[in-house]
Amino acid sequence: VLHSTRLLHTSQQCSAPVPPLPEKGGEVRHGLIPEEFFQFLYPKTGVTGPYMLGTGLLLYLLSKEIYVVNHETVASACILAVIIYAVKKFGSDVAAFADKLNEEKVASALAVKNEAIKDLETAIEQEKKEQWRAEGHSFLFDAKRNNVAMLLETNYRERLMTVYSEVKKRLDYQVAMQNLKRQKEQDHMIQWVEKSVVQSITPQQQKESIAKCILDLKALSRSAQAAA
């Protein structure tokens, strides 16, 4: 691409650093004539100079019929009216639109930068939190150690309890055995005593006791009849 706007022999022909663009275009009066022209004529003819020049030129062209008034004049009047109306009405809107396009470009680039900064800041926060967590690990380990010790203690106590209960069971068994044995001996003795007593009752004694019972019963029945 030939940079045709670059002066070939009068500048250094180097692209970098790029010279800054002017902020605004050249000042123009009535949208057509640069301000420099008016400044050029100002010392000799003052403020109205260029206008007199313009009017005189126009009248000269018209009166000498160097410019002939024909149908194109009317057509040009119309198209110029349309152009001037369009520029006056929509000019500032179009300029604002162009500025907005540029602004959006800048804003999106800035947004990228700000996003990156924000992400990095969030990362820093997270990192700090992780460091705090790492500090807290010693407490965590202490708690875990306590837990384990408690579990071991509980287990030991349980086992002690088991041992005690087992031993007690064994001893209870022995005690129960001894009680049972004594009980059995007692019962046996009682049975033996009863058996020998019953055997010692002679038939004579049996008859006497039965007769006595009958006499008692009769007496009882007599008293019962009397009572009734």
């Binding site: 045709s4 002939v68 024909n70 149908h71 004049t73 800048v106």
Partner: protein, 227 residues
């Protein structure tokens, strides 16, 4: 200079030197070339935005192969737009009022789309000659009709652009002549005619833009069928 109605459409000539090339290439001078800056001035920003808009609009219906045509279609659109709009200024010559130039644009481009279609997908291209769902007895007649319409396309493209612009320019000239002739006779009617001329000028501005757009749109449509 006393103008006749033909002078606007005569190929410009200065002392025997034909100026037709300069007048055709002049619009390219009005487009600022691409800057290497990121934030350009207003004109360049607007131009970039506009060209992006046109290219997107034209390229959305086309498939990947059709995107090769992006440069020529966008530049054609900008070219025609600028030529048409500049032709509305007084004493300017509009190259697109010449049938020769419009046919020179239309026939090669249309032929290119046709040959692309016939080369890459011949049966699909020929299949466009018969719309879907036609009743069987109508098929021969319809093929003839479709072929005729296919062959008439470049003619239509060129003549449409020429006729619209020529008619518009001629109308402006005639009504302007009527205005200037009526001015000493019946000034009121003259004022009325000037109002008509104003409306016509606005119409012509619209027509200039629309005709450029239609030309390029139709070409992209023919491309869609064939690519």
């Amino acid at each position: 200079m006393n103008l006749s109605f033909f002078d606007q459409f005569a190929s410009p000539c200065l002392m025997g030197i034909p100026l037709i090339l300069i007048s055709t290439l002049f619009p390219s001078l009005l487009i600022p070339s691409r800057n290497n800056r990121w934030l350009t001035n207003r004109l360049s920003t607007l131009q970039s935005w506009f060209i992006n808009l046109i290219t997107k609009q034209l390229m959305i219906p086309l498939n990947k192969n059709g995107h090769k045509w992006a440069l020529i279609l966008t530049s054609l659109m900008t070219f025609l737009l600028l030529i048409n709009l500049l032709g509305l200024l007084p004493y300017t010559f509009t190259p697109t009022t010449q049938l020769s130039m419009n046919m020179a644009l239309a026939i090669p481009l249309w032929l290119a789309t046709l040959l692309t279609g016939l080369r890459n997908q011949p049966s699909a291209s020929l299949g466009h000659l018969l719309p879907e769902g036609t009743p069987t007895p109508l098929i021969p007649a319809l093929i003839l009709i479709e072929t005729t319409s296919l062959l008439i396309r470049p003619l239509a493209l060129g003549v449409r652009l020429t006729a619209n612009l020529t008619a518009g320019h001629l109308l402006i000239q005639l009504i302007a002549t009527a205005t200037s002739t009526l001015l000493p006779i019946m000034p009121t009617i003259s004022i009325l005619t000037i109002l008509i001329l104003l409306l016509l000028t606005i119409l012509e501005v619209a027509v200039a833009m629309i005709q450029a757009y239609v030309f390029v749109l139709l070409l992209s449509l023919y491309l869609q069928e064939n690519i």
